[in-house]
């Protein structure tokens, strides 16, 4: 903060310190040079300072404070009063069935939502890459689910997946199947939650793939075509390898999103428990339950840090994979 304010002050003073009549031109020149040097050296930091200030206040500080809180017993009734318990909140997590259940759910919902989402996105991008009539329309249409709020989308999906009066069950019965109690089954509820995620994010990923596809040089396709490759072969042997870094990127981003999944399962059943048997309670939801319903902020912080560590592991795996990809090339 200090550097940026002084800098702002210097900058504001700048026009008036231009060589005034009667001043030593030589000294003024030297001063101007020094100022320029100083300016060039420090102003980039001033420009990026706002981000880092916000990051420090709303990213780094909460992260560290949560870590500190996770080593204490803290109640929402009196968050200022912290009682040191060491690693107890973490060792407790290891024996906490609700935590492992949430971790398992987060993983299965993550796989159920990420894999079909990215496969479909790739397919859609491939289709959109062809010359189509009204391609702008399709591209915008792909992005509309992404622009829809989680709450609105989830509420609509919850009604579609309703047991007694839901449209999906109505359709199932129409074609002769039994109706499904979506919310109460473990797999069915996780599929329903995944469906919301897939619906929201497929288009977004498709557009990222599309952008990457458009950057693939045409001559690669031409020479592949000359060699007699079919469109399908072109897709597998030209498009997919060229998209590898992009695919890795979307996998990482989707995995992070899946680890933090919160809004969809919360609003799907309208409760922090994630179903009667916690069958679709994710880590994010469990954290929310511990902190804001059970008022155990210390335990909630420990869950938050566990999630953070999981993400770090995912980041490391990503780094290893991308390094291998590079060396292979």
């Amino acid at each position: 903060m200090t550097s940026s304010t002084t800098d702002a002050a210097t900058a504001r003073r700048a026009p008036s310190s231009a060589p005034a009549p009667g001043a030593h031109p030589e000294r003024a020149g030297r001063r101007a040079r020094r100022r320029h040097r100083w300016d060039a050296k420090w102003s980039p930091y001033a420009f990026i300072a706002p981000f880092f200030l916000f990051f420090a206040a709303f990213g780094l500080f909460p992260l560290l404070y949560t870590g500190w809180a996770s080593l204490h017993k803290v109640s929402l009734h009196d968050p200022g009063h912290m009682e040191w318990v060491g690693l107890e909140n973490f060792s407790r997590l290891l024996e906490d069935d609700f935590f492992w259940n949430a971790l398992r759910n987060t993983f299965t919902i993550g796989v159920l939502s990420t894999v079909p989402q990215l496969v479909m996105a790739l397919g859609l991008a491939h289709l959109l890459h062809y010359r189509l009539r009204g391609s702008t329309f399709f591209r915008v249409a792909l992005l509309t689910p992404y622009a829809t709020s989680v709450a609105a989308a989830t509420l609509v999906f919850a009604m579609l997946f309703g047991r007694d009066y839901g449209m999906i069950n109505w359709g199932l019965e129409l074609v002769g199947f039994d109706h499904v109690d979506w919310e109460n089954g473990t797999w069915t509820s996780q599929l329903a939650v995944s469906a919301i995620v897939i619906w929201r994010w497929t288009g977004y990923n498709a557009l990222i793939y599309l952008a990457a596809m458009q950057a693939v040089p045409d001559d690669l396709y031409e020479s592949a075509a000359l060699d007699g490759a079919s469109r399908r072969q072109q897709f597998w042997h030209v498009t997919v390898p060229a998209l590898r870094p992009t695919i890795l990127f979307t996998v990482v981003v989707s995995t992070i999103g899946a680890t933090q999944l919160f809004g969809e399962p919360l609003l799907f059943g309208g409760s922090q428990t994630g179903g009667g048997s916690h069958q679709y309670q994710t880590l994010g939801l469990y954290l929310y339950e511990q902190g804001w319903f059970n008022f155990q902020l210390g335990r909630a912080s420990a869950i938050a840090w566990a999630m953070f560590l999981i993400l770090i592991v995912i980041g490391l795996v990503n780094w290893l994979i991308s390094r291998r990809l590079h060396t292979r090339r």
């Binding site: 702002a8 504001r12 001033a46 706002p50 916000f54 929402l76 047991r163 007694d164 109690d181 009667g276």
Partner: protein
């Protein structure tokens, strides 16, 4: 770096101005950041006209504004302005209130507290609230004894004044009852199960034998559990504050009753306040639901024209309470005296009666039951049922049950986990009980 320096030498006046502007922006953003951390001004203020603005923090719809009570008070006190801060759900409102209490800022001059949270406030935060028992013009005798005591701390301090209560009745569909061969007149219906919730289940078993196709006797086992468990003098906590929910007759008997209803297939297997529950009203999927007065408007809205002329309300087997709130005054408010005066006025019998007329919030002030607005009140959607009579009779018979800090979570864990697992997920009653108590143990474990 070298290119940067070269470019710096070429800095023109315009670029310099831009840079100055950018640096200014940095400063502004930085200042904004600091301001963002400052007090969020949820409190009150005095505006330039010398008027005092009082803020009232509530959850959901309290109806003071809708019933015109704020306007009336402002007319009586020209120097007062009232601003309501409303949060929709108590699940969001209450943690925020706790946060503001511990931060000592952001509190409204008056804060509403739900009955399931009032004991926690009285036990853990009494020192942060005004003792309403000592306020001039507050007469303990105006309120129902059990309501008054719910807000009492161990020291004898009363942290809040009662607003509304939720004495329960049973709302039922006359047409479905008739088809199933049950009586339809509300007095006879009330007699059918008077004194014992197990008679309500027996009526359900009778209903089941000749039930109209696609209907169940009651909406949910959770509703039955909730109605039954609230009618005992000891529920989750003993009088000395120890947790006894696993052994208490209230919980055990109500649990068994709920299991019996599930086993006999008397319920529509719904979760209350879910979308499907709302839709079931419109589709007439169940014949009865245990209902406090505040639910009547809800039923009317959800059942709509389809249910017109079909619904009625009878007395519940035993008097029991569901819901209701309190108004508290935080001690460090800027306009404490004015706030105390407003809270006293809003909870006085006359105002409670007005609120009942406009919003169907049932008065906790027994003095209001003698007023014609309450005592003679009828509900046209429910066949002109004398709701004033039915619910005030229930209100006066409600036992004084010791409350405790975890009442809310114990109740929702039993209904949303224990009973739901048995009723909707086909688990055994033992599995449901174990799942619920395991979760509760986890919550109350320090």
């Amino acid at each position: 770096m070298r290119t940067a320096r070269k470019r710096a030498h070429r800095t023109t006046g315009r670029a310099r101005r831009h840079r100055a502007a950018a640096c200014g922006l940095v400063a502004v953003l930085g200042a904004g950041l600091l301001a963002g951390c400052a007090e969020d001004g949820g409190g009150s203020s005095a505006d330039s006209g010398g008027r005092t603005t009082l803020s009232v923090g509530v959850f959901g719809v309290f109806g003071y504004k809708q019933a015109g009570l704020y306007d009336e008070y402002e007319k009586l006190h020209p120097d007062i302005r009232i601003k309501e801060n409303s949060t929709e759900r108590n699940e969001d409102y209450y943690p925020a209130l706790l946060n503001h209490l511990s931060a000592g800022s952001g509190l409204s001059d008056i804060q509403a507290v739900e009955v399931d949270n009032i004991s926690e406030i009285a036990q853990l935060h009494a020192d942060k609230f005004v003792d309403m028992a000592k306020v001039k013009g507050v007469d303990k005798a105006d309120w129902l004894g059990w309501k008054w005591n719910q807000a009492k701390a161990k020291s004898g301090q009363v942290v809040g004044l009662g607003t509304d209560i939720g004495p329960m009745g049973v709302c039922y569909r006359k047409d479905l009852f008739r088809k199933a061969g049950l009586p339809t007149e509300r007095e006879e219906v009330g007699k059918l199960w008077k004194g014992d919730w197990s008679k309500y289940v027996e009526a359900g078993e009778k209903y089941k034998k000749s039930a109209p196709k696609g209907t169940a006797f009651t909406d949910s086992a959770a509703g039955l559990f909730n109605g039954s468990v609230a009618g005992y003098p000891i529920k989750n906590y003993a009088a000395d504050g120890t947790l006894v929910y696993k052994k208490s007759r209230a919980v055990r008997e109500s649990w068994d009753l709920a299991m019996r209803a599930v086993d006999a297939g008397l319920t529509s297997k719904l979760k209350q306040f879910d979308k499907e529950w709302d839709q079931a009203y419109a589709n007439g999927a169940f014949a009865s639901v245990i209902c406090p007065p505040w639910m009547l408007g809800y039923i009317k809205e959800k059942a709509g024209d389809n249910g017109k002329g079909k619904w009625d309300v009878a007395a519940a087997p035993k008097p029991a309470n569901w819901g209701g709130s309190f108004l508290t005054v935080p001690r460090n408010g800027k306009h404490r005296e004015e706030a105390v005066e407003l809270a006293t006025w809003l909870t006085a019998p006359e105002q409670q009666a007005k609120l009942f007329r406009e919003q169907a919030s049932f008065p906790s002030a027994q003095a209001a039951y003698k007023l014609p607005e309450v005592g003679k009140a009828r509900h046209s959607y429910f066949g002109g049922a004398p709701i004033g009579k039915i619910f005030s009779a229930a209100a006066e018979g409600i036992p004084t049950t010791p409350l405790g800090p975890k009442d809310q979570i114990i109740k929702t864990t039993f209904t949303d986990i224990g009973i739901l697992q048995v009723e909707q997920q086909g688990k055994s009653p033992e599995e449901g009980w174990d799942a619920a108590t395991k979760k509760i143990d986890d919550v109350v474990d320090d």
